[in-house]
Symmetry: C2
Subunit: 388 residues, 2 copies
């Protein structure tokens, strides 16, 4: 590597040594197992839509793997987030604390409840909610009234918080749960990206009141479109199943619905793919870990950039491999993105800071968030498990 190499060129050279010369997407699924067989079985049964064998089996496999007492499969991670918020009682004009760095669905799901996202800062190391700053902030901006956390400025109830395990790296949940407890906040864990990630031996999404998984096409396993709710609370679980299936009461023939419900069930057809994908999850996790090691090796010698690595207490699924540019090098981001994309390697920045996004810029948020700067320093690298 000559002295004239730009940062972008150095990174590209490193990527080429792992990925070769052909084009590579950011993330693609692998169908190495029983996907075709189970779909064929599902079609033969003609039960492609409603509750069926594959939905039950997929839910059982997820429960066993994550340790959640109850799993309810739904049509998307976004649907799961929406329902999770309804389940903990988020209502019109409530505020919900949301990390400033997340996919827009996290904030949208709050809006679906006619509630207001209230953005909080993230830490740099793993891009999750920055808990010490959160505690200070809540002390200064809220009061407790009869066990309810109230935003002093807006007068609205702050009902819940959504820790999001960014790129598969678990948030420091012990500290977060302590703050949530102290300020009477319900905890909806957005583990959309974190199937296969563990915090102190417990699976992401099983530490709060309700957790959410996603099986979108870009996730570690996919069902085409799909998601799931995780909870240990049998009552929440029963409610989740009820309202995601149009809130119909059981009856031999009558169609009686006892509340406004949703058509959010996961079709049996999609669950059939999910069962086959779950069978391969350990393999995908191994390969992603190998890919991380390979990237780490080529990135380590490059000045100005580092790779996000799991913390000591956690086991990450390494869903996406993420570069963080040092602050002095953040002006290089677009040049790295264009150099790598021009070379056929699909790389992507993080999401826009939610507090700066058009739909939510009028929402309340912490001041001076480092997330606003951090989003300009993150680059996700091609991370499909078959690359590992």
């Amino acid at each position: 590597m000559t002295k004239e190499c730009t940062l972008a060129e150095k990174i590209l050279t490193g990527m080429r040594s792992i990925l070769g010369d052909d084009s590579v997407n950011l993330h693609e699924p692998s169908f190495l197992g029983n996907e075709s067989r189970y779909v064929e079985e599902c079609l033969r049964s003609t039960n492609v839509a409603s509750e069926g064998q594959f939905v039950s089996q997929f839910e059982s496999m997820l429960a066993e793997y994550t340790g959640a007492q109850h799993v309810i499969a739904v049509s998307s991670g976004t649907a799961a987030l929406h329902v999770a918020l309804l389940l903990v009682g988020v209502s019109r004009d409530d505020e919900v604390l949301v990390p400033d760095l997340s996919f827009i669905a996290t904030a949208n799901s709050v809006a679906y409840c006619s509630a207001i996202p209230h953005f909080v800062d993230v830490e740099e190391e793993h891009c999750g909610i920055r808990v010490p700053k959160l505690q200070e902030y809540l002390e200064s901006c809220s009061t407790q009234e009869d066990g309810v956390c109230v935003n002093r400025q807006t007068g609205r109830r702050i009902k819940a918080i959504i820790p999001m395990h960014a790129f598969g790296h678990p948030v420091d949940m012990d500290s977060l749960l302590e703050v949530a407890e102290k300020f009477s906040l319900d905890v909806v864990e957005d583990a959309a990206e974190a199937l296969g990630s563990f915090y102190k031996g417990r699976h992401a999404g099983t530490l709060g009141h309700v957790g959410v998984l996603s099986f979108n096409g870009n996730k570690i396993i996919t069902t085409g479109g799909g998601g799931a709710l995780l909870t240990d609370d049998p009552e929440l679980a029963a409610n989740a199943r009820h309202i995601t299936r149009t809130a119909k009461l059981p009856h031999r023939w009558e169609y009686i619905h006892d509340q406004v419900g949703y058509n959010y069930r996961l079709p049996n057809l999609n669950a059939a793919i999910g069962v086959a994908q779950m069978e391969k999850l350990p393999l995908f996790l191994d390969r992603k870990r190998s890919l991380f090691a390979a990237y780490a090796k080529v990135i380590a010698p490059i000045q100005g950039v580092k790779l996000i690595c799991e913390s000591q207490d956690c086991r990450s699924n390494y869903w996406l491999q993420t570069l963080i540019l040092d602050q002095d090098f953040q002006h290089e981001r677009d040049s790295i993105l264009s150099t790598t994309n021009d070379a056929g390697f699909v790389t992507r920045p993080a999401w826009q800071s939610l507090s700066r996004s058009k739909p939510f810029r009028a929402s309340p948020s912490m001041k001076d968030m480092q997330s606003v700067d951090l989003v300009n320093r993150l680059i996700n690298l091609p991370s499909s498990s078959f690359l590992g």
Copy 2:
């Protein structure tokens, strides 16, 4: 048939002569064509989730078949209804006119917009909105203020109306559109049950501002779960595509979303099934028509009951075959339901009157609706296309 036969026994005997002695479900799909082949192709491409070849092809086939200028595939008929209402501008605290006889999703979709369903009566012959009564009712209950229809009693804007083509039988759309025009109501056609149904040669769902189809497992064709929006308005179509795909703006790499959007796209995997199903739609329609003819023949001689038949101006898809009990025989409904279900033939009543349903009983509605009585006189018979 001896004189001692009850109405239930007569109907059961008639059904046996068509359906045989084995158990029969209310409605099951048939996978007779390229379903497996296309799913296999979709898995091989690894593009099971996002916009893909099968989504485009499915949308094109629907556009060609229905004559709609634009078709946007989505994850369910319920999602399509929700988005259709947003597209025509239904907002918080608006009222939307909904037939009292419909699946609960029609009213739920209004609630998702934080709007209020306002129930109107249906006619007996085809169970669609009773247009002459609607006109009289709007004359008495509403005023026009600057081209806006206002409910005199509640003071709220009545923004739209949702004609629903019950069991596949088209509503009298010419009269309905005239009333909608007169009272400045946007028309969202709920054609969830009506793929393959035509009103005066035009496909159901293409006569109002936006139309909605469903491909749930019980519909004439299925994608596992799925729906579609139909419109001739290019701007509405572009908005529909935008907000059902998280409202992301096109950009080489940035994730910029310009409004609260939804994750309502149809996965490519489900669209693959849809393409194969669309290839068989003409066959399914023929068979359903034969099944209707067979039922009509055995039901005709039975006193106290008739079968819903397409009207002169319409071609119905005969999605479900529906019995109407004469008023003098409505007390027989539960005995017919239990006799036929006990015999293994799954029959079902219509839905609960929406104005009497728990989630919507506080909503405004017409007085003295015959729908409340009619729901106790309807019985749907096994209607899968393979029975025809």
